[in-house]
Subunit: 628 residues, 2 copies
């Protein structure tokens, strides 16, 4: 068994760079850093809240019903087992950092014991199928989520193995994985919801047992041959519309597509399958070239929770599921490991600080499932999928425990190593304590990122080492120790024979910027967005006079942007603009004109919207037309 967070990713012949993840506790966030505060809030608020919801929602009782320890009917979604597994995974990662947390330990141990009892003699484990429809085991895979749930069980076990907790969980997961390999090595069938693929590769990484990797590869290559009946949803919804190696575009249900892509990269890396990696790169170009919101969100359609057509990116009906952003983060992480290109880290950073950060309220116990970029004036927020503010829970509660497991494992995603160096991808105050080529490396980082772009790194390593620092795509005029940096591939590389205590200072200037959309994005034509560093900004009704309709706000993109001073918002911005009103109420007319009054607009980081009071919000602001 090996121990790093994502296991030993082998350098491969096709990768221009192949990076290796850190071990679990190699990266530590400073307690008061942005990520440190967030990770602690996850540990003290969100994760305990998710655990309490497993009881409240009946998800744990479903498993107890399997062994006769709970009465009544099965409750909740038919894939509610996965809520249990994702919460377990989060608890395991968290225990890896805080092993003395007795409550978490008790949760992992008691749930592991419950799972061991609920597991069938042959290894099968699924409360819905066992309680409600035992005769349909493996018979309705297009919709049953049996392998999806199994995947999350396996990922929880992998986390437990790496954190050194929950030994029973690992046994349960392996027994189920062995049953899956036994059955599906000869039967042509796949799950309508990908997830098992990446889980099996991860299990291979911690066990070295090759049949898991082979099984993952087989599941991936069985897709796109019409095994599943999508009914009115269509085969793209189930990711069965095209063999993955031939796919040219991302399509269908976003989370399914992205989980599948993560699994593809895992299999490609572990089995040196350059064809599969090329397919993933092609789909990455499509996804991030034409189907991603400025916040990093993906999913343009509420209907079928799906990707849209090329350049179909409506702000007000952005679906942008929280789980999709998490999946995008995970997929980009795997692409980064395989390829070493900073563009993947750029997308991780964008999703993390915007859509993912925005999906949870500052109290840690309210969540968005869907992450809009424009909440309209008069919005009907009665629909759970498009609420006016973050809700305490969802009938389909996939997102909150998914957030919990991401945050609990986040520190491992900030840096990587290779045979000669350390690469820092995401900046945060804290410490890195790892080994490169067998030698210990320690770096202390001081920064107020993402509010300030100055990053001071003190290396206490007495050895030759290439320290690679990511220059984000948004950063112009970056400097290292006062000198302009030179980078071809998004990293500045300091190949030095370090002496202990040397400090280097990276400056990533963070002026507020005006960003324009590609002209083929019809939905935000004539609009600009305001960004600063990795953060996208938004205008909220809260900061407008009550009688001003948000949709009448205009921006003067050439006006200077200055710092605001809102309480509780670390960096707010003031932007020149106007309030424009139509001279006609007609919906369509030959002579629509507007008249406007100059006005100063306040913009706040998108991820903070809806935390003061509910109300309209928009990211893309129409450019002023009247009186200019």
């Amino acid at each position: 068994m090996t121990d790093p967070i994502a296991g030993p990713v082998q350098p491969t012949s096709f990768a221009t760079a192949a990076l290796r993840p850190l071990s679990l506790n190699d990266a530590v966030f400073a307690p008061e850093s942005f990520l440190g505060v967030w990770q602690r809030r996850n540990a003290t608020r969100s994760l305990p809240y998710c655990i309490s919801q497993l009881d409240a929602s009946g998800a744990l009782d479903n498993l107890r019903r399997v062994i006769g320890e709970a009465d009544g009917d099965y409750q909740n979604m038919w894939f509610a087992d996965s809520d249990v597994y994702k919460t377990l995974e989060a608890a395991a990662w968290q225990l890896g950092r805080t092993p003395d947390d007795a409550q978490l330990l008790a949760f992992v141990d008691s749930t592991g014991a419950l799972l061991a009892k609920a597991q069938g003699e042959d290894g099968y484990l699924n409360s819905y199928l066992t309680v409600v429809a035992p005769e349909k085991r493996w018979q309705k895979l297009h919709w049953s989520h049996e392998l999806y749930c199994a995947g999350h069980l396996i990922q929880a076990a992998v986390a437990a193995a790496r954190a050194g907790v929950g030994a029973e969980l690992v046994t349960v997961a392996r027994r189920f994985a062995d049953l899956i390999v036994e059955r599906f090595s000869t039967v042509d069938d796949i799950d309508g919801h990908p997830q098992i693929e990446t889980a099996l590769v991860e299990l291979y990484r911690v066990t070295g047992h090759e049949p898991y990797l082979d099984m993952a590869k087989r599941f991936i290559d069985l897709r796109g041959h019409g095994l599943l009946d999508g009914g009115r949803f269509g085969s793209a919804y189930l990711q069965d519309h095209v063999p993955v190696r031939q796919a040219e575009t991302v399509a269908g249900h976003v989370v399914r597509q992205l989980y599948l892509l993560a699994g593809m990269v895992d299999v490609a890396v572990e089995s040196h399958d350059s064809d599969l990696l090329e397919a993933a790169k092609r789909l990455w170009d499509d996804a991030f070239g034409a189907k991603t919101y400025i916040t990093g969100a993906q999913g343009s359609r509420h209907r079928d929770e799906a990707f849209g057509d090329t350049y179909e990116l409506p702000s007000d009906r952005a679906y942008g599921e929280t789980c999709a952003a998490i999946a995008s983060f995970q997929w980009n992480w795997r692409m980064l490991l395989a390829m070493g290109d900073s563009k993947y880290a750029d997308e991780m950073e964008c999703a993390l600080y915007n859509v993912i950060a925005g999906s949870t309220a500052l109290d840690g116990t309210h969540f968005f499932y869907s992450n809009t970029l424009h909440l309209r004036t008069g919005h009907d927020g009665s629909h759970e999928d498009a609420p006016s503010q973050r809700l305490p829970w969802y009938s389909c509660a996939c997102c909150p425990p998914n957030l919990a497991r991401l945050l609990a494992s986040l520190s491992g995603h900030t840096a990587t190593t290779d045979h000669s160096g350390l690469q820092i991808h995401l900046y945060t105050a804290g410490e890195l304590n790892t080994t490169v080529d067998g030698s210990p490396v320690h770096v202390a980082i001081r920064t107020d990122y993402p509010w300030d772009g100055r990053v001071e790194l003190t290396v206490t390593t007495q050895a030759p080492l290439t320290l690679a620092l990511r220059i984000p795509g948004w950063a112009a005029d970056a400097q290292l120790d006062g000198e302009p940096v030179d980078t071809n591939d998004g990293y500045v590389r300091l190949q030095r024979d370090w002496s202990a205590g040397v400090t280097v200072t990276l400056d990533l200037p963070m002026p507020a910027r005006i960003v324009r959309p590609h002209p083929r994005i019809d939905a935000v034509r004539g609009c600009v967005a305001v960004t600063r560093g990795p953060l996208v900004y938004a205008v909220e009704q809260s900061d407008l006079p009550e009688d001003v309709v948000l949709e009448d706000v205009r921006i003067g993109p050439a006006a200077p942007i200055t710092a605001g001073n809102l309480p509780d918002i670390p960096v707010s911005l003031i932007v020149g603009g106007s309030i424009e009103q139509s001279t006609s109420d007609a919906l369509y007319s030959g002579h629509a004109e507007s008249h406007g009054e100059p006005s100063e607009l306040v913009a706040i980081p998108y991820f903070l919207w809806g935390n003061r009071k509910p109300g309209p919000m928009r990211v893309w602001i129409p450019v002023r037309t009247a009186g200019v």
Copy 2:
């Protein structure tokens, strides 16, 4: 029993004007007129095709299963009976005009006999509930469509009564209606899909039996009190979210909302309920002030087939269900009868010539269910709800037979009478032959509408008569016999003592026009549309060089628009514009710029798109920005 198409609408104290519909054969389209050709295509192509689909889809077999005359399982949607009823209604209206059509007569008689046999002793009739779940009769009204189907049965019977055919059908419908009145007069329950309301008022109109009217009113007032469980769809989907008299906005499933509104107006008019009519007027202002596409389509969301928020009108994801446009036409017709305001006729005309006309292919046997305003380059048309071209049938086949019944009854919607005059609302070549205050009135109309705005009307009535001619909202500089017309309310009124054979000529100039959207419609900011008369135009890929991407097309709104000469397109237009391409492939950047080449664009009437070959299309064209 009375005989006019919508029965005797009583003048009411609250209506500023109350109009009376014509009798069934009072209006006749000239065979070669636009509407005449369309109506004949409906009679000879679409209606027989719908009849054949009743067999192919199993809808008739479902009814045969009730009486043991067909084997096998129930087929198709659980509300497939309504397909049979809508087709019957279409056949009845058509037989009213062509009573010698032996095939249609045989269909009406044989289906009426089948229904009579399938009807229960107590009058109940629903093949799904009877065959599949008899124990659930009336128990699942939020989803069962039992009263919805009953409503369509009743409407078919009303059409048959007015056309003087299918006597058995009328008996069946009345027996079922009597059962419904018996049960639901004391039980508080409603159907999740409105439709029964307007049907019961119509049945009251042809029978004079007041319990039908009372029942309709009761069904309307029971809404909005939480009787139905909408589950994840929510109560607005089922039109149970607010008491209808308190509603401020249209919301939820569009067809359900509009059918309910039609029923509200019917009840309001027949029971002199000004409060109910005020509610309908308020919702009309909301629907047509902020939630209607330029084509007359309604429904901004595929998810839940729903209205969007205020000003949420995306072109590429317009749902614009065909049935919704038909429902809008029917609701506006009732508003017109109640209020006499030309704005309702304007909306009827807009929907008719654009979204409704566009929903059927020129072959009469291919249909759109959803009517987009922008089919993107690279569109994934594999989803039935957003196909790339009109399809021969749908798994939910509500639209084609709905079109058939509208077209078969269309002539009755072109004009009305009141105590002293005749009002002409929709212009077409043809004849009007009716009575006003007991005296015969005959008007012959010659026009090439909608291609040309000259309308010549020859009155052969020797009597005092006020002839009111609608001046469409789009028409500027209208003239009557060469003189500018003077109108306050959208009608020019000729109060004359006519002598036989007098001709008046109305000129409605039809220059091509550039139309701008209200600035709060984000989805088409920076775009304009081209219209001519009542027709909205579109740009199709078919008319562009193959290497030009439709989304790169720009329009110069100040450029002159000239007539084109495409074959098979009566009036195409040529508009000055350009092809603009971004200088950057980045989805978001600080410096997006475009460069453009001037180009002439060809625009065709929207309703004709997709009839030459499939491909991208858009109604709203971005305004040229580069090089101006």
